[in-house]
């Protein structure tokens, strides 16, 4: 092999790449900027970035103490931004996207809900929930929060001494209950009355409360190590923009063919390995440099650490760099002209990136699609980087992604060499 030519061609590729401001910007600045943005959106460095509140409107048609209590409780909830409006205005705000959810507490809500709490023969009040269909996830969340606060408010009201007395008074005239049920209910209400009459501190309220509290713990590489969402976003964006660099590798080969440089190279006594291999090696080196720079930035600015195996991290990066190089060669055989090739190459790359989980985690995909993503090299790259960076996995967890990416690199490279148009 002509080693002088091999290294000279690699040096040329590196020099041309770093002279190209557009390529450098796209490969270094763009992933850093976009990864920082997404990382901030998904929790930031400490994972404590305040999430935006869900805008909710309450339409209080009941106007009683129960509905006011529900309104106050919802307004105090940290996850919600609650306003009270009339029904028409609430509907308009939902329709125009200014509010995600509107809850209507209908007239007589307190009365009916208190009666229905113990009596299945009583009609339960209907609470209309108007929601923006593009915010259905928020609607589910608001529904859960509403349930909690309504239960607390209604049971508080239902278990007050006045309500107990009213219920006991009405019980004898109630139809639809057997004598045994009436006796059981009377005993229950009487016992609640005794419970309410016991000496108690001023802060204790009657009624139900959530019977548990939640302690959330993000499980990361080590106990006490907070989750740094920058880790995943930098991994994802790094994968995306390195693949774009791979496209440029293929484009450069197509442009060189057009310019006549390919003829000059082919006229020299050089093997195909030197010509195509130098291109692949230079692409892989550029990919490694980009990863070093991007993760270096993440380490210095956002404190993203490699919590797992360092050797595994190097292995995953090297395998991904080789896969990118082979992908670039594949791009160079995808079309006859740069113009015809670029569009399809970008589309394929975006699909690979999307399916690989660079934009959104793959767990939100349907199961069949999650299975499909195992046939996508970027899935292995993102999973491998996640495992080595923030999950704190050992080297053994890197073996699978490394093997998969080397397999893809071999397959892409073989197709590229097979389909490569050597003749100028």
């Amino acid at each position: 092999m002509n080693f002088t030519a091999f290294t000279a061609l690699i040096r040329r590729d590196l020099r041309l790449f770093f002279m190209d401001r557009r390529a450098v910007t796209m490969s270094f600045a763009a992933p850093i900027l976009i990864a920082s943005f997404f990382g901030y959106l998904f929790g930031g460095v400490s994972g404590n970035t305040e999430a935006s509140k869900i805008k909710v409107v309450i339409v209080d048609e009941d106007g009683g103490d129960v509905s006011r209590a529900v309104l106050s409780a919802l307004q105090a909830d940290q996850a919600l931004d609650v306003n009270a409006l009339a029904l028409d205005e609430a509907r308009e705000r939902v329709r125009t996207g200014k509010t995600a959810v509107a809850i209507v507490l209908p007239k007589g809500f307190a009365e009916s809900s208190a009666r229905a709490l113990f009596r299945r023969d009583q009609q339960r009040p209907e609470v209309p929930v108007l929601f923006d269909p593009s915010h259905s996830a928020e609607m589910q969340m608001v529904r859960g929060i509403l349930t909690q606060h309504v239960m607390e408010a209604v049971t508080s009201r239902s278990m007050s001494q006045a309500s107990i007395d009213d219920a006991l008074r009405d019980l004898d005239g109630t139809t639809g209950l057997s004598a045994a049920d009436k006796t059981a209910l009377r005993n229950l209400l009487t016992e609640i009355g005794k419970w309410n009459a016991r000496p108690q501190s001023g802060t204790t309220r009657s009624g139900f409360q959530m019977p548990y509290t939640v302690r959330e713990e993000a499980v990361t590489a080590h106990k006490g190590t907070p989750y740094n969402s920058m880790a995943h976003s930098f991994a994802g964006m790094c994968v995306q923009f390195i693949l774009f660099m791979g496209i440029d590798t293929g484009m450069v080969m197509l442009y060189q063919r057009r310019s006549g440089l390919w003829k000059r190279l082919r006229a020299a006594p050089l093997s195909r390995f030197v010509l195509i291999g130098s291109r692949a090696v230079s692409s892989a080196i550029i990919a490694m440099i980009i990863m070093l720079a991007v993760f270096g930035f993440a380490r210095v600015v956002f404190g993203v650490r490699i919590e797992g195996s360092f050797a595994g991290m190097v292995g995953v990066c090297a395998a991904f760099a080789l896969m990118t190089a082979a992908f670039g060669l594949l791009v160079s055989v995808a079309g006859k002209t740069p113009e015809a090739t670029r569009g399809i190459a970008i589309l394929v790359t975006l699909i690979l990136v999307m399916l690989g989980g660079s934009w959104v985690p793959t767990f939100i995909f349907p199961q069949w699609l999650q299975n499909v993503t195992f046939a996508v090299p970027t899935r292995w790259a993102v999973d491998g980087l996640d495992a080595m960076i923030w999950r704190g996995s050992p080297f053994s967890a890197a073996v699978g992604p490394i093997a998969a990416m080397l397999g893809f690199a071999a397959a892409f490279g073989a197709v590229a060499v097979w389909r490569f148009r050597w003749e100028a």
């Binding site: 002088t4 002279m19 310019s259 006549g260 082919r266 050089l270």
Partner: protein, 311 residues
């Protein structure tokens, strides 16, 4: 010496090059002439090893080129029709790269680059980016890059396309100098006047076929009717005054236009005296006589019925 024997190349049904054969000796320049699409570049590409021929053989100083890394390829230098330079790099960086392709480095590379820049007339611009060069300067550098490894055979594929007259003359001067050094040169062009100026022999191709080959004189003689004698006559006659000339043996046509009489003869040396004698015998006084030989453009036109430049 370069020997090309029965080179053949087809793309599907299209025969791009059909049984092309010629040989070029050291110190000789052979022009491969023809219109665009005639098969010139395909022929050069096969000689340079860029294209695999379907048939035929190329021998470089007696040796066939076997494989992409055959050292025999070092004896050839290719000047592609397209500029084969990195615009983003300096002229020196380009030559360093191209020298590396032939494993030239160190002092040998510096010496070769100095010579190349001298030839290209770009010594004072060696450190400048190629993107800042004029078209002519790029063409000269394109030629110089092919000379770095001192090839004995130089393949020039339309090396003057889009070049200003000054750079064209510089390139011609370089080529004449290389020929004088004993290099073997193959020059493709569709500019017939370039071939007439530079080439010792020509091979005219059209639709992949060789339609004529030989020295310039040999090729010109393929079109004898194009031997034209132009005579300025001080006292031309009235209409039809030279009709009798057309009846003379060896005269194909005689057309008066004002004071100029244009006579086409089959053999300029043999029949010109007869024409001049007839004019003298009939009292016509000649103030100026000139002869015109067929140029290659005329030859191509005569052989194919088409102009080279209207393809």
């Amino acid at each position: 010496m370069l020997e090309v024997t029965s080179l053949h190349k087809r793309y599907g049904e299209l025969v791009a090059v059909r049984e092309v054969s010629f040989a070029v000796q050291p110190g000789e320049m052979v022009g491969l002439l023809g219109p665009n699409g005639a098969g010139k570049t395909t022929t050069v590409s096969m000689i340079a090893g860029l294209l695999e021929p379907d048939g035929g053989e190329v021998r470089i100083e007696g040796a066939s080129v076997r494989g992409e890394t055959d050292p025999v390829k070092r004896r050839m230098g290719l000047v592609p029709q397209e500029l084969a330079l990195h615009d983003e790099l300096s002229a020196r960086e380009n030559l360093v790269l191209f020298g590396s392709l032939y494993s030239i480095k160190g002092a040998a590379l510096r010496r070769a680059m100095d010579e190349a820049f001298e030839i290209a007339g770009l010594t004072d611009r060696a450190g400048d980016r190629v993107a800042t060069f004029s078209g002519g300067m790029k063409r000269r550098l394109n030629l110089a890059a092919a000379l770095l490894h001192s090839p004995t055979i130089l393949l020039l594929d339309e090396p003057t396309v889009g070049v200003d007259p000054q750079s064209r003359n510089a390139i011609f001067s370089n080529l004449e100098s290389l020929k004088a050094q004993g290099k073997t040169l193959v020059y493709t062009t569709h500019y017939m006047e370039e071939a007439e100026r530079l080439c010792d022999r020509v091979v005219i191709v059209d639709h992949g076929n060789v339609i004529a080959s030989g020295t310039l004189d040999e090729v010109r003689r393929l079109v004898p009717a194009a031997n034209v004698l132009e005579i300025e006559v001080e006292n031309p006659g009235v209409d039809g005054w030279c009709g009798a000339l057309r009846e003379m043996d060896g005269v194909d046509s005689a057309e008066p236009a004002g004071l100029t009489l244009r006579v086409t003869v089959r053999d300029l040396a043999r029949h010109s005296p007869d024409v001049l004698g007839w004019l003298r015998d009939h009292g016509y006084r000649c103030s100026h006589i000139s002869s015109e030989r067929a140029d290659l453009e005329t030859v191509f036109l005569a052989l194919t019925g088409r102009s080279v430049r209207n393809q």
